[in-house]
Symmetry: C2
Subunit: 101 residues, 2 copies
DNA sequence: ACCATAGGCAAGTCCACGCTTGCCTATCAA
DNA sequence: TTGATAGGCAAGCGTGGACTTGCCTATGGT
């Protein structure tokens, strides 16, 4: 299953916080995310730790990155999350697939 | 976070298969789920293993159980899954909350 | 040229978690 | 009561993964 990487990525609380931060502000660099986790969430984690988390999130397709000079900007991509609600649809069944008509 | 249990529950591939089986047929017993995993998915797992998985799914609110005599039936509850798409809404924002109008 | 910044790679540690094994309880049928 | 079925509890093993530490590359400023 390709879903393995998606659910594994969501399995860690620190990675979920990173997604939260990317919702608030798109296109952050690694250092920017580091300092945000440290400031707002009192998260004592090394830069490498965050870097590894971002790699997992990228493998899951939840984060996309673009390089510019010596900076690397990270953007959130929520599209893979749809696979979750599609796999186990609500019993009502009306909102299984809602696309813009 | 109470979300910890939800995402932890979804993190294991065997547990996701159990949810799949409960979508197909609601109200299965432990032994029924065991044999289904073994037959359809060639899953070599002990009864205790499945039992522990069901406990995790129940803690996450994804599975509800009811006892009747010596049987314990398990039902799927997809409601907690909504918290995922609500936490990281799609950028379009039109489908953040879709309720039956 | 130099140094600081932004990031990557690799090895090593440590703990949570998936799974098994063994034994125990409860309900139903003969 | 005896036996079979459905399930629970607890201890133990082994592996994956989160995190750190140390060193390396590349870009930009002065």
């Amino acid at each position: 299953m390709a879903d393995d990487e998606l659910f594994k990525a969501l399995g860690d609380p620190t990675r979920r916080l990173i997604l939260d931060e990317l919702v608030e502000k798109s296109g952050q660099t690694l250092f920017e995310i580091c300092s945000r986790l440290s400031m707002k969430h009192r998260l004592g984690i090394s830069r490498q730790g965050v870097s590894q988390h971002l790699a997992v999130l990228e493998a899951a397709g939840l984060v996309e990155s673009r390089r510019e000079g010596r900076y690397k900007f990270h953007d959130l991509n929520t599209a893979p999350l749809r696979r979750i609600t599609e796999r186990w649809p609500a019993p009502g069944g009306s909102e299984a697939k809602e696309n813009t008509p």
